[in-house]
Amino acid sequence: MNQASGDRPNTTLNTVPNQVLVLGQADVNRAITRIAHEIIERNRGLDGVVIVGLQRGGVWLAERLVATINHIEGETRPSIPLGKLDVSLFRDDISLRPVTPVTVTDIPADLAGSKVVLVDDVLFTGRTVRAALDALNQYGRPSSVQLAVMIDRGHRELPIRPDYVGKNLPTGRDEDVLVSPEGVTLSKKVNA
């Protein structure tokens, strides 16, 4: 999610001083598998479920979740739909900091009546999720929206809570959380 700045390095670990490894690659894999099971279980099968990754950090995670769910469910059913959503134009802080939408929004189906699972890497203030809820509305009225994140780092500014969490991680506001398929690290903000 956001708090990491946009030109985040493509995640080679241990290149930033004071970086602490919070989850290793195996931990990340295990968390994804667990969340996949929880999604299947909670939705009693998968009818109407659409997985939507938030650009940019949530997209790879959404792709992994879809692949894992498909693996668990086997070839017996068609792949569940996967979407991508860029919420830049829906943010409430456009005037507060520079925002440029640069990534793709691709919603595969009319969302009316579907069960949308929003996926992001880090849940922080909640403002991105709020923007995503607004954006989703323009694609139809889902019957429900759930939220899956790899890391919940606290500091919420809005009444938003995740349904699926990889790990709850207490952080300071002056810290950066980096999430990648190889692991999760915590470090002091570089240019705070």
């Binding site: 650009q55 134009l89 900091r97 925002v99 440029t100 640069v102 323009q138």
Partner: protein
């Protein structure tokens, strides 16, 4: 970016940035509800001292899709007709709390003069014969996206673009030449000497007085509007001769390579520069240019009003 006044001020990095944003806006325009709250609460005033309903509507549509409030300052019914000066007008309207003015004026340089008198952003929707930057951006976007290319500083590389007609009096031509060449295209101007600007030897273009000579080599044929008013100025002998030498007729349409795109900034002068039905050509881009105009103007408005002084950064 505080203002969008000209292509040179925007620079090639700015052009590429706008093209990227326009891609995103085009996607917004394909959504079931093509409207986002990005510029909620900002007021955009169109200040058109010269009539251009299509450009004004394109800008206002773009502003509304970004949820900005739009107002039209209609010059024909306003105090400008009662002798109010340009400076007094802009200061008065600015005082109402305006984020951006979209300005069209028959005289070159007005956007620069206005920006001395207001803190609002100025977006140039055409000044005299000088600049029409959003037209150049939407033209570049149209070519780039039609060819399936992605925004970069050489996204028009390898293309030969012929601009035909009254270059001298054309803000579209001046802006297009700068944008196309900045993005790597080769531009050839096709016009009689009387319709070329004086002393253009330093321009990054080649020049031909014969459309027949160059039409077979073009990847894009860009026809300009030939204004009938020019006939009073002894610039060409008469419209018939102009049409015969520079108009797009059946014979020339056959000489145009099959892959070549046909473009025109509109409104077309049928029977003058356009002697065929352009929709009979497979690669007629004229309607697409209009459609892309909304996406590009959304990109410009967002860049000017949603970003920072030096242009928006990137946040994921």
């Amino acid at each position: 970016m505080k203002h969008l006044r000209s292509i040179p001020e925007l620079g090639v990095d700015g052009i590429v940035r706008i093209l990227g944003l326009a891609n995103h806006m085009a996607e917004v325009n394909r959504r079931p509800v093509p409207k986002v709250p990005a510029l909620n609460g900002r007021t955009v005033v169109s200040l058109f001292f010269e009539d251009s309903t299509r450009t004004r509507i394109s800008f206002e549509t773009a502003a509304k899709r970004l949820s900005a409030d739009t107002m039209t300052f209609s010059v024909s019914t306003s105090s400008v007709n009662k002798g109010e000066s340009l400076k007094d007008t802009i200061e008065t309207v600015s005082a109402m709390g305006v984020a951006a003015f979209v300005v069209r004026h028959k005289t070159s340089g007005i956007p620069w003069q206005l920006s001395e008198w207001t803190d609002a952003s100025i977006i140039n929707a055409g000044d005299g014969w000088h600049q029409h930057p959003t037209q150049a951006l939407l033209d570049s976007f149209t070519i780039m996206s039609t060819l399936g290319r992605v925004p970069s500083n050489d996204c028009l590389k390898g293309l030969k673009i012929g601009i035909v007609g009254d270059i001298r009096h054309s803000r579209v031509a001046r802006s297009d030449i700068q944008a196309f060449t900045a993005l790597g295209a080769t531009v050839v101007l096709v016009a009689p000497r009387t319709l070329l600007p004086p002393e253009i030897e330093g321009w990054p273009v080649s020049i031909s007085s014969s459309l027949d000579d160059v039409i077979g080599e073009l990847d894009v044929l860009y026809m300009l509007r030939m204004q009938r008013e020019r006939m009073n100025e002894a610039l060409v002998p008469h419209l018939g001769e102009y049409s015969a030498r520079y108009g797009l007729d059946e014979r020339r349409a056959k000489m145009l390579p099959g892959h070549a795109l046909l473009m025109h900034p509109g409104p077309m002068n049928r029977g003058v520069e356009m002697l065929i039905d352009p929709s009979s050509l497979p690669n007629n881009m004229i309607t697409q240019q209009v459609a892309n105009g909304v996406s590009v103007r959304m990109a410009v408005l967002f860049d000017v009003l949603g970003g920072t002084e030096t242009g928006a950064g990137v946040v994921s």
